[in-house]
């Protein structure tokens, strides 16, 4: 099934939930309302469109824009050789989105990474802890307002920097 047919079907079925259809870097992009993410994604996975693979799940910090954060999902259909990108804007004061762990197992650690680096909370995530940074680390290091030279060592250093 071609990607054009997938887009056509989405346009009919989720008319109110998808705000924008576009193309970027050779892939189709859809902008989605936050509440309907799980329905759209389940539709894409379970129907013959068969987007069986979650390639990547990440977040972007557009500081100074409103809303500030953007979640990006990359889906791939192995049987149909189709790619699709889903984008959702999130407001800084309400950083919550549905977890996709029930659909793809690898979403578990990807969402933990996003939680670790950006502080986005995932509803119904089975084990939402930091993935890379250690216990006691304060703040979210990939946010644009995290200070570049801020260090949070676990053990005390033998000396401090001159600057």
């Amino acid at each position: 099934m071609e990607i054009k047919k997938v887009i056509e079907e989405l346009k009919v079925k989720f008319k109110d939930d998808i705000t924008e259809f576009s193309k970027q870097f050779g892939d189709d992009v859809i902008r989605v309302k936050r509440e309907s993410l799980r329905d759209i994604v389940r539709f894409l996975k379970k129907t013959p469109h068969n987007f069986a693979m979650l390639l990547d799940l990440t977040c972007v910090d557009y500081m100074g824009e409103e809303p500030r954060f953007e979640m990006v999902y990359h889906l791939y259909s192995i049987s149909n050789k189709n790619r699709l990108r889903i984008k959702i804007r999130l407001d800084e004061n309400d950083l919550k989105i549905d977890s996709l762990t029930s659909l793809w197992g690898n979403a578990n650690w990807l969402e933990r990474e996003v939680f670790d680096m950006f502080g986005v909370h995932f509803n119904e995530h089975p084990d939402l802890r930091r993935l890379f940074m250690y216990d006691g680390f304060e703040g979210y290091p990939l946010r644009k307002d995290y200070p570049l030279r801020k260090r949070q060592p676990i053990i005390p250093m033998r000396y401090e920097d001159a600057d």
Binding site: P141, L148, P153, R158
Partner: protein, 172 residues
Amino acid sequence: MGRIKPRHHYPEERKYKGGFFTTKLNYVMGWGRKFSLFHYPFITACCGMEYMSAACAHWDFDRFGVGMTTFSPRQSDMLFVVGTISQKEAPVLRTVYEQMCEPKWVIACGACTLSGGIYDNYAVVQGIDKIIPVDVFIPGCPPRPETILDAIEKLQDKIQYQQQDWRWKSKK
């Protein structure tokens, strides 16, 4: 039948004329220690490739008496820190260093180990001398195996001429 002659036959007068030499205990201990360095490779990143080629047949730092690789810090004299050390790994490195028996020496190999290198960010320790004392620094990204050999020679010079520590001598 004639007598069988010993294979190495020396005249009687030369037999007991053994030579001797004098030296200082400090010097001879240094000489012994510098050629029997057991090293513990603490390898975390791509500099490890250069370490491997320095250790293998082509450059072969076994020629300098550093060939024995131990994977127990308790049986090693020299800690070879090769690669980026993150903040999360710093307690591990400190523990490995503390588990080593005296006397012990540390070589830091590569730009990331010395100063954090290109990783000037939240995750990386900006130089391992903030965690443990270091004897020789090897710059380079990555350093050539020749540089590693040069560092080993410099460390051996240091060991040769330093004040030696031994167990019946009171430690300062």
